[in-house]
Amino acid sequence: MLIPNKKIRVGYVIMILLMAANLFNVLLKSPMHPAQQWAQKIFYYHVPSAWVAFLSFFVVLVAGIIFLKTRNYFWDRVGLAAAEIGTLFTILVLITGPIWASAAWGKAWNWEPRLTTTLILFLIYIGYFMLREFGGAPERVARYAAILGIIAFIDVPIIFMSVRLWAPEVQSHPQVEMASQPAGIMSIFFFSLFTFTVLYSGMLWLRIRILNLKAENQ
């Protein structure tokens, strides 16, 4: 059998069904935005990706704090798994954001504060993986990665504040528009948010499981 573990098999089926329902909702059920038309649909994927990315970096922070307190390597693996998945979703945010922006604003990149903060965070996490790769002894790397995860999270609000003040003319981030959307849009949006959170939890659980198995074999 392709996937021998029953729990994982059930998880995959649930995930595929949820994602399919989400896609169906977004493409066929959500009302067409009068001004943005199809371009607006990317938001059902862009915003949940951003939410999951930042949630994931929050998990890195929590795992880092617990690791430094307890020195239990399970939490190091949680941090690594969350950092990997967070970076993956950050890439999705950085791809989907400019796609929407080029349709809505006519320009793929205009230093929108949220997107800029995401880009900086992405660069920090590239450094995080390099530190993990080249940091030396595994015990030291785990400690350093935990500290970097905490430092990165502390930096996020300062980065966001500075970027927002840096280019005050770029303020048309779409979240303001989202709040004034009709219920048809909002319910589908929240379903997508839920689906992505479930997807994230599943991915995180699987990744931690793989890292645990790897650690057991070493």
């Binding site: 430094l68 900086i120 965070l121 660069l123 920090i124 590239i126 450094g127 390099m130 530190l131 080249f134 940091g135 030396g136 030291r140 400690r143 350093y144 935990a146 500290i147 970097l148 905490i150 430092i151 990165a152 502390i154 930096d155 300062i158 980065i159 504040m161 500075s162 970027v163 003040l165 840096w166």
Partner: protein
């Protein structure tokens, strides 16, 4: 104890002059490249000058930080320092304060050629400019000392340091450039007060973070 650590940093530097000499010559080389690569009128240069200045500072800070920590690695002095019975946060404080001081000293000698070669007018509020430069340096060195501590014993530490440092320090650089631009344009303090506050916040937050985390960084 902090006094002893600071004394050690200054004594090592006074004898080797490695950090200040490398920062100084590299800074001058950067100014030369700026002058050649951006060949515009002094009036236009005046607009770019704050950004160029902080790019230069970031480059030399990176160089200085790398020298400061690799020195400890080369002679394995770090393991001796951490074997001494005192709060390891103090090691961070000494690195941070000494690093800021070295950067300020290098800038004392670089800033004059920067204004001279790029044919810039000296700002009216030059006193405030000095204050902003020192504060900006303290911010860069606070996060820089943490990152150097993390990268010090890694392979390719000289590559890892700027890769980690530049994105992390970006809010401070934005604030430094904005505040310096306002001073160059002779604006009132009230118009750039927010940037000043941001710089103070950044410096305090990462100064504290460094003090708290250095214990974990220096663990053997």
């Amino acid at each position: 104890m902090l006094i002893h650590l600071l004394k050690k940093e200054f004594l090592v530097e006074l004898r080797s002059k490695e950090i200040s000499a490398s920062m100084l010559t590299f800074g001058l080389a950067v100014i030369l490249i700026f002058s050649f690569s951006i060949n515009v009128s002094p009036a236009v240069f005046q607009k770019f000058a704050p950004g160029l200045y902080w790019i230069m500072v970031l480059f030399i800070a990176d160089l200085g930080l790398h020298r400061m920590f690799s020195h400890e690695k080369e002679f394995d002095t770090f393991s001796m320092i951490i074997s001494a019975p005192f709060d390891r946060g103090l090691i961070f404080l000494s690195k941070w304060l000494a690093g800021t001081a070295f950067l300020v000293i290098a800038e004392l000698l670089i800033t004059a050629p920067f204004f001279l070669f790029l044919q810039l007018d000296i700002p009216v509020q030059w006193g405030r400019l000095i204050g902003i430069i020192i504060l900006g340096n303290a911010g860069i060195m606070a996060i820089g000392s943490i990152v150097s501590g993390l990268a010090m014993r890694a392979k390719m530490s000289e590559v890892l340091l700027p890769i980690l440092l530049f994105p992390l320090v970006s809010p401070n650089i934005i604030a430094c450039v904005k505040a310096t631009t306002a001073i160059f344009d002779n604006q009132l303090f009230a118009t750039w007060q927010t940037w000043f506050q941001l710089m103070v916040t950044f410096t305090v937050v990462f100064g504290l973070a460094g003090y708290l985390f250095f214990d974990h960084i220096t663990e053997e």
